[in-house]
């Protein structure tokens, strides 16, 4: 119970700080919308090809926006050596990790709630009835992104040139998530058939579970070394 209570307090702290600092969500939101408009102007996407292209383009935008958010994820802890204050307190390091994953997930879901429907409208994708199942794949992919991203954001916390290092380390590792999410989304959008997309869902769930477990286990070593 203490673990959950402490995790909840840390998430509350991060949400409150984000509400007051408005550094991550606003930047992610505007960057996401900007990317969609750039895609709209740059690609002459016909409605019949929109379903084929939509998952890739949406996920490209989400990964870029998410990486922007990851840069700021530990910013409050960098100021005034607050990470030391957390490490000094008697909390499980996994609580710090999970609180950051949850906080990042909340930001990403808020972003997706805006970006996905906007994309549907801008590119005239249609098939609105399939949007929830597409969103489900987006959610599974987002969990994987947040878990790996949080771990690498912590890993590069005190690295010089972390703004360059973080995407360089993160993006190759995200290839399975990006691939599975895009393929799953595309199948759902095209056929709306869960059974056909099941292998991709299994891959996503497996990735999420493996990296969440690995993150919980190694986070202590990552932040303390």
């Amino acid at each position: 119970m203490d673990f959950l209570r402490q995790t909840a307090w840390l998430v509350w702290k991060d949400l409150l700080l984000e509400l007051r600092r408005r550094e991550s969500l606003l930047a992610m939101f505007f960057f996401g919308v900007l990317l969609l408009f750039i895609f709209q102007f740059a690609l002459d996407l016909q409605p019949e090809r929109a379903a084929e292209m939509a998952p890739g383009l949406v996920w490209l935008a989400l990964v870029f926006c998410g990486t922007l958010g990851l840069m700021q994820l530990f910013q409050p802890e960098r100021e005034n050596h607050c990470l030391d204050a957390l490490l000094l307190s008697p909390i499980d390091r996994a609580a710090i990790f999970l609180s950051k994953v949850f906080f990042n997930l909340i930001l990403m879901v808020l972003l997706e709630i805006v970006v996905l429907p906007l994309f549907w409208v801008l590119f005239n994708v249609g098939a609105w009835d399939r949007l929830p199942s597409v969103f489900l794949y987006g959610l599974l992919g987002t969990v994987g992104f947040c878990v790996v991203g949080t771990l690498f954001s912590a890993l590069t916390l005190s690295a010089r040139g972390r703004e360059i290092l973080l995407p360089l380390l993160l993006l190759p590792l995200l290839i399975p998530v990006v691939l599975a999410t895009i393929r799953g989304m595309e199948i759902m959008l095209r056929a709306g058939d869960f059974s056909e997309s099941l292998p991709w869902m299994h891959l996503l769930i497996g990735f999420d579970v493996i990296f969440a477990t690995a993150g919980i286990l190694v986070f202590e070593w990552v932040v303390e070394s």
């Binding site: 607050c82 490490l87 909390i91």
Partner: protein, 238 residues
Amino acid sequence: MHLEVRRLSKSYGFTWALKEIDLELRSGDCVALLGPNGAGKTTLLKALCGLLRPTMGEICADGTRLRHGPARLQPAIGLLSPGDHLYDKLTAEENLRLFLALYNRQENRGEIGNALAAAGLSDWSGEYVAAFSSGMKCRLSIAKWLLLEPKLLLVDEPYGVLDGSGVDLLETHLKNVCRSGGIVVTATHHVTRAVALCSRAIVLRRGKVVFDEPKRTPWDSIHRVVGEFMPRGEAWTS
């Protein structure tokens, strides 16, 4: 609480910040940690509270080896570092409430109010820490450790930012920690104040303990050692 430090060494690359430190700290000890810049005072404090992993050696608290960052022992260890360890965009009260929760202490609004009042920050409880001066941040840190009641309180150069009443508040708190059976280690350059406050002095130089003695009256040896190892401008600031 009984703290034993055995052959503790810490290196940053090829530079040794601490070299084979042996120390024993017992309940009620109020220790002044002195030394010139770069002597290893802050490194020793961070190693004692588990924020730094020693390169060699070990620290034992009550017979248990203090592994790096042991959650079990940490409620007992506090680090008061002026201006640090507070979230700028949380109010004074929110900061205290957060740390009470993280230390598994029951939230008590009256208790938080009392701690803020004791630190002279009653009127500032709803203000963001970002608006605080360095001295006020230090007072808030004192209020935090007043609430959390650590058994071992490590203090890193507190005098530079506090005004007269702030110094009184801090020293009263440190004396109370020692009186209640805790241990206080204060790293400072303000020798006169440290000598007046503490029951024991340790002088570090280039990562080695060059002096470790309980307080005496008169205490000529400390003045001799400090005069020898610390630049006079720093050593006798009061």
